[in-house]
């Protein structure tokens, strides 16, 4: 469990990036910070591994104040995946993945064996192990970044817009992988994004942030979708624009059993199966990402 207690960050140039931020990040769940550019997401994330130290307040991991932990030691126990992969360009993929293991004095053969396993884990072919980061595609680099983040088998994995720079198809792939990893490896993931769809897809708990890391709303995706706490949130999740409110298009003659759905703007948004002209109900239950709280909100799924 990671707990922020009244944390503030004032950068030396006077920017108040985080203002009195408090939250509990539960273990073995995915918590997503989502908000527009400059609202303080990266700053929050980097305070967890002490790449940034708060000017005020306390951050605790499992009840221990991290300010009392030596930063280098702390970082070796926390995985960190960056937007631009942050791989070392002069080291081969396998050495990049094994970096943390080498730092932790794991003998070479074991480190390489583990690094190779990790390539499998993140879905990278082992034949890429001897390439240099510059010889990989953006999506592959991100996978290497994830593998490196997992290398020391950390309980906590910090991910800062890890898929922001890859194309939508690869992104969907990587998002699916992330969900799989979370399920299989049971990590506490803190994920930063400015993409609300990604936040709702991945998050057990989602925090919508305004400037200064002010929490606009906190809850499960279902809770936020059902009851946006403010106009800001409604606007941010696209509810007010009707983006998520779908209706059956009466003008389009269905072919087969599918009805076309349109959003409030009148744009086609998808289809829904409707055998004999009746909407299908109940077969697929809403995906539960968090273990607690699952009173269904089938309507928007």
């Amino acid at each position: 469990m990671i707990e922020f207690k009244s944390v503030s960050k004032l950068y030396p140039d006077g920017t108040r990036a985080v203002d009195d931020f408090s939250v509990v990040i539960p273990s073995r769940k995915t918590t997503v910070f989502v908000g527009s550019s400059g609202c303080g997401k990266t700053t929050l994330l980097r305070m967890i591994n002490r790449m940034v130290d708060p000017t005020d307040g306390v951050i605790e991991i499992d009840g221990d104040d991290i300010a009392k932990t030596e930063p280098v030691h702390l970082r070796r126990g926390i995985g960190y995946v960056m937007q631009n992969s942050g791989l070392l360009p002069h080291r081969r993929v396998i050495d990049n993945v094994a970096t943390v293991l080498f730092l932790n004095k794991v003998p070479k053969p074991q480190a390489y064996a583990r690094a190779n396993e990790l390539l499998d884990t993140v879905g990278l072919d082992r034949s890429l192990a001897k390439r240099y980061p510059g010889e990989l595609s953006g999506g592959q680099q991100q996978r290497v970044g994830v593998a490196r983040g997992l290398a020391a088998n950390p309980n906590i994995l910090l991910m800062d817009e890890p898929f922001g720079a890859v194309d939508p198809i690869v992104r969907v792939d990587l998002q699916a992988e992330t969900m799989r990893l979370q399920r299989e490896l049971d990590k506490t993931i803190v994920f930063v994004t400015h993409d609300i769809d990604e936040a709702f897809l991945l998050g057990d708990q989602v925090l919508i942030l305004e400037k200064g890391a002010k929490i606009a709303q906190q809850g499960t995706p279902e809770e936020i979708l059902a009851n946006p706490a403010s106009d800001f949130v409604a606007n941010f999740i696209g509810a007010d624009r009707g983006k998520r409110r779908l209706t059956v298009d009466s003008k389009v003659k269905p072919r087969g059993d599918d009805l076309v759905l349109i959003d409030a703007g009148g744009y086609a948004a998808g289809v829904i199966s409707a055998p004999d002209g009746k909407l299908a109900t109940g077969t697929a239950s809403p995906k539960s990402r968090s273990i607690s709280n699952k009173t269904s909100q089938a309507g928007d799924a």
Partner: protein, 256 residues
């Protein structure tokens, strides 16, 4: 053209290699030149490299590096040499004012080395060092495992400039009496012996070229694979761009 051929002929005349009562021999001058260059270079590196690394790593004292290189460029070597030779007393046990010469050679050698060491580290992408820190490297590890390897090309580039600088300044030292390959230029000038002057100039140039060639090889050797020489910027990986247009799919053969 003829004069140059004569210069080479002068060098290859064995009679000119040994010192006689009337003239300086090439062997001794050559050895002196190498010794002075070696000692000065060693001291220069010992001073400028740690300082340059400190500035490049911490970002502190950048001004020092810039100012020192500008000042050194403006100072006339011969003038500084003269002043210091006169100012520093002869120390018993150290041959003919060696100390004064070496101080000057080092002073003039420091700026390019300092600039190279500092610029080498400065050239490393901030994101890369940040990532290295984030995975748990200590500052020392960031320096030795990331910044120095990635900045190696510019660092050795600084060493090359410094070496040439010192070889050249040692030559000038002969105008104040220090024996070196410059001695032939000075003596030739005094005696109106242009062939000797050319011979000396060729020797200095040859020494400089050989040393620079060796260091150029070193430079090629130290640059990490897959990191393009000169520009170490990892480029913009934001859109998954490649570091450089290498051919993906080509297996990389590398031993451990």
């Amino acid at each position: 053209m003829n004069l140059i051929i004569e210069g080479f002929a002068w060098i290859f005349d064995p009679a000119h290699w040994t010192t006689s009562s009337t003239s300086q021999g090439i062997s001794e001058a050559f050895v002196q030149h190498i010794i002075l260059t070696g000692i000065s270079l060693l001291l220069t590196v010992l001073i400028a490299v740690p300082l340059g690394f400190y500035i490049g790593h911490s970002g502190r004292g950048r001004q020092v590096a810039i100012i020192s290189s500008n000042v050194a460029r403006a100072v006339p070597s011969l003038g500084l040499l003269t002043v210091l030779i006169l100012a520093i007393p002869i120390i018993p046990g150290i041959p003919n004012n060696y100390l004064a010469y070496i101080i000057v050679f080092v002073l003039l050698g420091i700026p390019p080395m300092l600039a190279g060491a500092y610029a080498g580290l400065e050239s490393v992408d901030r994101e890369t060092t940040d990532a290295a820190r984030a995975v748990g490297m200590t500052e020392w590890q960031v320096l030795t495992k990331v910044e120095i390897p990635l900045g190696a090309s510019l660092i050795v580039g600084g060493l090359r400039s410094t070496t040439l600088q010192i070889v050249a300044t040692v030559t000038i030292g002969s105008f104040l009496g220090q024996v070196s390959l410059g001695t032939f230029i000075v003596d030739g000038l005094e005696q109106g012996d242009f062939v000797k002057m050319i011979g000396g100039a060729i020797l200095v140039a040859a020494l400089a070229l050989v040393l620079d060639g060796i260091l150029a090889l070193v430079q090629r050797f130290v640059v990490p694979r897959r990191v393009s020489r000169g520009s170490i910027d990892t480029g913009n990986t934001a859109h998954g761009m490649r570091l450089r247009a290498s051919t993906p799919g080509t297996p990389i053969t590398e031993g451990n």
